[in-house]
Amino acid sequence: MPETRSAELLAGFAGVAGLLLLWELSARFIWQDPQTLPAPTQALAQAMTVLTPQRLAEHVGISLFRIFAGFSLAALAGITLGILCGWSRWAVAVVRPFIEILRPIPPLAWIPIAIIWFGLGEGSKIFVIFLGAFFPIFTSAWSGAAMVPKVLLSAAETMDVRGARLLVKVVVPAALPDMATGLRVGFGLSFGILVAAELIAAQSGMGYLVMQSRQLGQLGISIFGIFLIGIVALAVDHQFGVLTRKTIGRWSSI
């Protein structure tokens, strides 16, 4: 089997190019209605004429801001609570029932409550994204902190490392690989939720762009926006992987 890197890349490229070509040809020659199925080139051309680079940067920028804000809060809360639960059984007894009650509720179902609590501005959008990212981060931080090998803990204790120092020097680093996985999953989820969050009275953002364009009858721009969200999500996820390997790749194989 020709399992070389270049053959892989070539096959992948052929797959993508073939599919795009198929779409292009069937949209132009078989379907022939750009109002319901624009070809990729038509969608791109429409986006190029309507969207200025500044406006586009604004959409991407505000969406990324919302995601980063919600995600950072989720990371902060999820990691703190997760480590605490891995560290103390009392924390588990207090925190867990609420987590178990709230976890199964889909993040989007919080939108009405988010609006009532935080209004129609940025607050409600960030809150919904926060909820989406929080649970996977919390769960992974908890299981990471709870499953620190006993040997490590005993070894640290023989060296008289206890209490807060044990937490910072042993438990947290040992839980990092698990946390990295949870953070990545949480990040992926926040992109999925973004679109719905931007349905709440937004004036800009990638999700807004997709929804608004359909109402204006510019389906090509909607498709452009769908691809834009997918590409930005992939790029950020890739960056996340690179960063993880660079920082904690030394003591974990992910």
Binding site: P107, I111, V195
Partner: protein
């Protein structure tokens, strides 16, 4: 753990939850927070029974909403599984197909399902089909990538062993490869169902007042946040119930697997 401590570990959560509920009820009663912001537990329970008997909007009972939502989820989910599993097994068994589809699958998975909402409306209208399409999309790519991974990770030793025993290709597929794929397929199916429940609330934002997602959104416009909360818990409960059902099915389908609780 010593006995008293074990009892404490069970009692503490119950006491904490009861305390928080009581505090919640009291703060609303004392006028510290507004009912619409934090509908108190007593009101939520009352609304739940109201929904069961009278419904919201009046006449549309909770059971009807539940039925509509479950129908959409299960339809989209079933179609996704029926397409993704065979397709994934074919793709995963061919090096070329796998490599050709890898970037497409990775990209389609990272496309936000709800961003397809406008396309769904243009293609399928505002009826049931567009909602089922969105559920299908979310479930399909998750299931597909799991099916591809499932067949790729089958131990080649098993296949070679079967071959030395002169097993026909068809038997190798049906009795060696397929059973070896099942665990990964089942776990993929479980993740896909979770995606379905994530997507449904967004899908029900378009052109309907029927379904739990629609109920949740509709109630807010009438300042009935108590109904919103009931809807949230009901949809959460059904998500939990179905995923529990799937893990029971897993135990039944794969008795040889060691089970860990999800």
């Amino acid at each position: 753990m010593r006995m008293p401590e074990r009892w404490a570990m069970r009692l503490v959560p119950a006491i904490v939850v009861a305390l928080v509920l009581a505090l919640w009820e009291w703060t609303v009663f004392a006028g510290i927070v507004r009912t619409i912001q934090f509908p108190p537990p007593s009101l939520i329970v009352a609304s739940f029974f109201g929904l069961l008997v009278d419904g919201f909007p009046r006449g549309t009972l909770l059971a009807t909403h539940i039925g509509a939502t479950l129908y959409r989820i299960l339809m989209g989910y079933a179609i996704a599984l029926a397409l993704a599993i065979p397709l994934g097994l074919v793709i995963g068994s061919s090096w070329l197909l796998d490599r050709m589809s890898a970037p497409v699958v990775a990209f389609c998975r990272s496309v936000a399902t709800l961003s397809l909402l406008p396309l769904a409306v243009v293609w399928f209208g505002t009826g049931e089909a567009s909602k089922i399409f969105l559920i299908w999309y979310g479930c399909f790519w998750v299931m597909l990538s799991n099916a591809i991974a499932a067949i790729k990770q089958v131990d080649p030793v098993l296949i070679r062993a079967a071959r030395t025993m002169d097993t026909s290709t068809r038997d190798i597929f049906a009795r060696v490869i397929l059973p070896a794929c099942v665990p990964r397929l089942v776990s993929g199916a479980r993740v896909a169902l979770g995606v379905g429940f994530m997507v449904i609330v967004g899908a029900e934002m378009i052109g309907t007042t029927l379904g739990l997602g629609a109920l949740i959104m509709e109630a807010r416009t009438f300042y009935r946040s108590d109904i919103t909360v009931v809807g949230m818990f009901v949809i959460g409960a059904f998500g939990l119930l179905l995923s529990f059902g799937l893990s029971r099915a897993e135990t039944w389908l794969l008795p040889w697997q060691k089970h860990r609780r999800a």
